[in-house]
Subunit: 357 residues, 2 copies
């Protein structure tokens, strides 16, 4: 991290600078390194302050705050989810986040997180799949070819060596666009006409659909033995993608049970339905995949620690770059108790030159 | 509000621009108008989503998120409280906040809130005192002459006509600075050598000390009949300013009981100790001050709705000014589902010109 010029300044990563950071590092390398940060933080899961995200629901969507802290750093993300936004040219999901110093409470970094959330979601999925997907998995179905789909594909290529993709979306244009975006990146891509066709021969099934409703993207007969399901789309109350029967014969892995039981696929199940916390697998306290016939399910909803890891990662990568702006965010009077005096001094300083209201 | 150039841009009010906005409007007018916004939002209290602030405590302090929504707008504030910060030249309290559109989830404004919090705290105190202070109050004691003290003085002058100030702080330099900052603003100021001296003849007693501990700034014998106590400093678990006996003979008014019972002076009392919610007084559903002998206490801890009002106010005042910067905060691809494509287009566009990492 560059030395801060003064205490009042907080570095800000804009969307443009985030894109350049990702492109300079390389998307695959970025996802690979980011997954390592997430994995490291999952391994020390117990040191974190954890709360389910604080959601403000409205008719059209949700606005959420996702805070966490490891005792040294504090991070939070602001994120919205508004499926109808695409009708007005807006993103379904936008986000930004802040990383702070626990010792002083001062923010250290403000960053766009729309792009970063897409990257961390994919990195988390692929990181989980390292422990849960069948050995030598090389073919993945992606059902739902929206904004998350390409990130998932590249993360699974980087971390698992997935080379074959089977794409399906109810909107054929979404599939077309996804396939086009991924061409020349080393995939063998099959556009499919149905979910049933997409899952044929797939070792991993990623579901990433966006409607805010209970849907059945996958039914039980579509899931063969040994498959790993990476369920990304179901991530709020009333939004699921999988038929209940699939959950009954899967070993289910989750991020943070108090949140997943409300938001994930398992909201369809009784509150005591057995699940394994992913961090325990990573910390060696619980088994991941046990055999080649087992159906594993990562019921991903996205947890604050993943955003914390992502902010931590980009902060480390920012060092020595100029990919940030300095925001005059924090009042910094010469005498810290003299906030009012700062106003008076500003008044004296700018009595003639101040910008008119 | 100025029309936004594009969907990805969010206006940002820096500390410097906030100072200029306050100075252009005039501090007294700003506090007066801000108090009216807060009062209007307290009057429609029931429409708001309310949760106690989400606090992350550490040894040295606390970092908090304070969200709320009226169904049309959503706001939240990030605020820290670190008493030892002054030792390293930092503020005890710094803050920033965001106002968003509930319908799309898109942020509409990011603002510094260190200065704005000081202003809204003072405006809320003075607004409450309009309903609670004795008639024709013109003399206020301020015990604790730190960063909040001048703002309290000016807000009480603007809203109640307080003209005489009696200042005391354990640090005489704090009192000196406060008195100096307030000279020429129309006050008659008495610097006092003790709390006992400060409260002599005061109609309103403001306590605004900062230590994170249970202290006894006021004892029972210091509070005469008819006085209004504006207790601003006790605002987190383990931090109080008043002796319990004062609470026993005061009528206590609070912002949001679930939060105040944890953070306010009433954390010293049983969980069912009677209090009146301030919004009910403002909405005409409960009496404020009933007679000239009654001791009233505003047990202020600061609530999210006050920050929401403050963000709403500055957003309205920003119209037609140039007192903001445009932040490229939100990813805004041409095709909203094509987030990855935006990265690819950036890559193509900047293949040769991109800033090096």
């Amino acid at each position: 991290m560059p030395a801060l010029p003064t205490l009042n300044i907080v570095p800000f990563i804009s969307v443009e600078n985030m894109m350049d950071l990702v492109l300079n590092i390389g998307i695959e390398t970025f996802l690979d390194e980011l997954a390592a940060y997430i994995e490291a933080d999952f391994r020390r899961w117990e040191v974190f302050d954890k709360v389910p995200r604080i959601a403000s629901h409205s008719r059209e969507g949700v606005i959420e705050l996702m805070p966490t802290s490891d005792g040294t750093l504090y991070g939070f993300k602001y994120v919205n989810g508004h499926p109808k936004n695409t009708r007005t040219g807006r993103q379904t999901v936008t986000a930004f986040g802040v990383l702070s110093d626990v010792d002083s409470g001062y923010p250290l970094l403000i960053s766009e997180m729309t792009i970063l959330t897409a990257l961390r979601t994919a990195a988390t999925s692929a990181m989980a799949a390292k422990y849960l997907a069948p050995e030598n998995a090389n073919c993945m179905a992606i059902i739902g070819n929206g904004a998350q789909s390409e990130f998932q594909a590249i993360a699974f290529k980087a971390l698992l060596g997935i080379r074959r993709l089977r794409l399906y979306d109810i909107d054929p244009n979404a599939t077309k666009r996804c396939a086009k975006n991924l061409r020349n990146l080393g995939f063998e891509i099959q556009a499919c006409r149905s979910s049933e066709e997409a899952v044929e021969g797939a070792h991993v099934i990623t579901t990433a659909t966006a409607d805010k409703q209970c849907a059945t993207i996958l039914t039980d007969n579509m899931v063969g033995p040994g498959v790993h399901i990476n369920a990304v789309g179901g991530d709020c109350p009333g939004k699921t993608e999988l038929h209940r029967d699939i959950l009954l014969r899967s070993d289910i892995f989750v991020e943070y049970p108090p949140q997943t039981r409300i938001e994930g696929e398992i909201q369809q199940m009784p509150a005591d339905h057995p699940v394994t916390e992913l961090w325990q697998v990573i910390a060696g306290l619980a088994p991941g995949r046990k055999n080649g016939a087992q159906v594993t399910l990562f019921d991903s909803v996205g947890f604050a620690i993943e955003d914390f890891s992502a902010l931590r990662y980009v902060r480390d990568k920012l060092s020595g770059t100029n990919l940030y702006e300095n925001l005059d965010l924090l009042a910094d009077p010469d005498e810290p108790r003299d906030l009012f005096g700062m106003l008076l001094r500003r008044k004296a300083l700018t009595a003639t030159s101040r910008k008119p209201a």
